[in-house]
Amino acid sequence: MAVTSIQPNYSGPFRDRVENFHGNQLVYVHWEGHLNFCSAIALALPPEMPFRTLAEEVIAGLYGSDPQWASVDLSRARWMLDGVDWNPVPERPIGEQQVGHKSLIRFWTDPVENTRG
């Protein structure tokens, strides 16, 4: 539907185009089953970043403060990218593995359903 406006072709600034992020793109990551982290976390990442860097540095840096993180084995995590199961290759850049601007990456690390809500 078009916006109800006084003139046709109403528009305003399209604020979050990828061009506005200085070579980065927005990516959201979410550790499923650990809602003490209230929501997915927003990141601005270069598409050239290898998945390994994302997982071992960025994600580990974000969640490392959690007492349970120490027992997490990310190599056994289940990943989902934009609603589809995802098997990222550690060495390849995320941009070459379907991670686009505003992609959502969800991952599960708990062997059984989480107990912590």
């Binding site: 109403y10 604020r15 809602l35 929501s39 997915a40 976390i41 927003a42 601007h101 989480n114 809500g117």
Partner: protein, 512 residues
Amino acid sequence: MNAKKLTLKQKYIQSTRGLDWEYSYHSKEEIFPYAEYEGIKIHDWDAWEDPFKLTMDSYWRFQAEKERKLYAVIDSVAQNSGQLGVTDARYFNAVKLFIQGVTPLEYQAHRHFAHLARHLPGAGLRVAAQMQSIDELRHAQTQIHTISHYNKFFDGMHDFAHMHDRLWYLSVPKSFFDDATSAGPFEFMTAISFAFEYVLTNLLFVPFMSGAAFNGDLATVTFGFSAQSDESRHMTLGLEAVRFMLEQDEANVPIVQRWLDKWFWRGYRLLSLVGMMMDYMLPKKIMSWAEAWEMYYEEAGGALFADLARYGIREPKYAGVAKAEKDHLTHQVWTVFYNYTHAAALHTWDIDDQHMDWLSEKYPNSFDRIYRPRYLAWRKQAAEGKRFYNNGLPQLCQVCQIPMAFTEPGDPSTVSFRVSEYAGDKFHTCSDGCKDIFDYEPEKYVQAWLPVHQIFQGNCGGATIPEVLDWYHLKEGVDNLDYAGSPEQAMWNNWMVGRRGSDNLDTKTAAK
């Protein structure tokens, strides 16, 4: 004499819409250019029935009397250090959220009701709108004047207007109101006068103000109740305006219904912040969010929508989701603020056992199962000197702009993610309610100034958290972080020692 004396109603009509005339040197469309583009058809403006019939003489008289009473209380609270009579300093975090989030909306309402007072073609409605316009200015000003005294002692209130234009959680109320004021006059009335003021505002003012009274904040309860006396007029305007649109033309019904669906949801999402204040920030509790929701939405709203059913209006589309969420909503919002207190101009804190027991009693279906374990784990971390703060920035909903913390209806362990594609980009929303709003007018919501994305674009003072906090005018270690260890806590404890002796101190937090 006075055999032909007019009744109140006749006199009122003569002193309001009787002042208007049929323009002949310019067309009605030239004088009221915004009246038609939303597609609302009004055939007979004279069919408008004025609910309350205040003329300016009575308005000045009543309002002057209200203001005299209110400022007497404000003066007295300031002169007698009224802040000392409040139950606990943590209470003032509700006041902070109020002046940062609500007061600027009152101001915007003032300006936009002036817009209606100029641009609505119906003279009766214009009169009601202009009284509301100055009422809203009153609310903004009386809030500023009341809180002015508290600002002298407590943090987080000192730059509320600057923060309102910038802070991540304040973009929630700001975008809500910007959405309404950027719409046409009829949508604004439906949004603010009806969906917000009639259906939802009781949830903001009544339990909160009653809570302020219960917690010893005389000044806030006085401005709050004094504002509510105006609010009752505004609510009635909202109800009658919607009824008027519905009665004027059948074609208006689906338009109004869509607005109700949208604005119910947007208002409800906004009020989740208020719910969090009620359940978490009032030291002495008055009623839970769930109870307030039942009393002011489910009971009163039920009667209302039963009344509107005759026009073919049904309950707002996602009211059922709101009902289903009521056991979780405030806990999830508190979780957001606890995560990001380092970037907020207010404090959060670990929940003590007594408070947990109250929450457990009020939320038997959810609290002990989900939220108590979470809070206990946080308390343990804090006791070990590792108070939890989330180091990342939250993903925000494109529409309501709240961090995407809400869970799937019926599944409190899974975050509700919704996504839309538009113009080659993805747009994430927190719920079906927000997704519907985006999908209907994507050209509007792609403009959203999302604070987190703006930080990444480099528009918020810099790339590091200290730079962003500076740009917010948020004083590190003063306005933000946990209440435990804050300057406010130290000040309060000092006062309480002087007042009651140290045995009444809150030793658990004071020890930290």
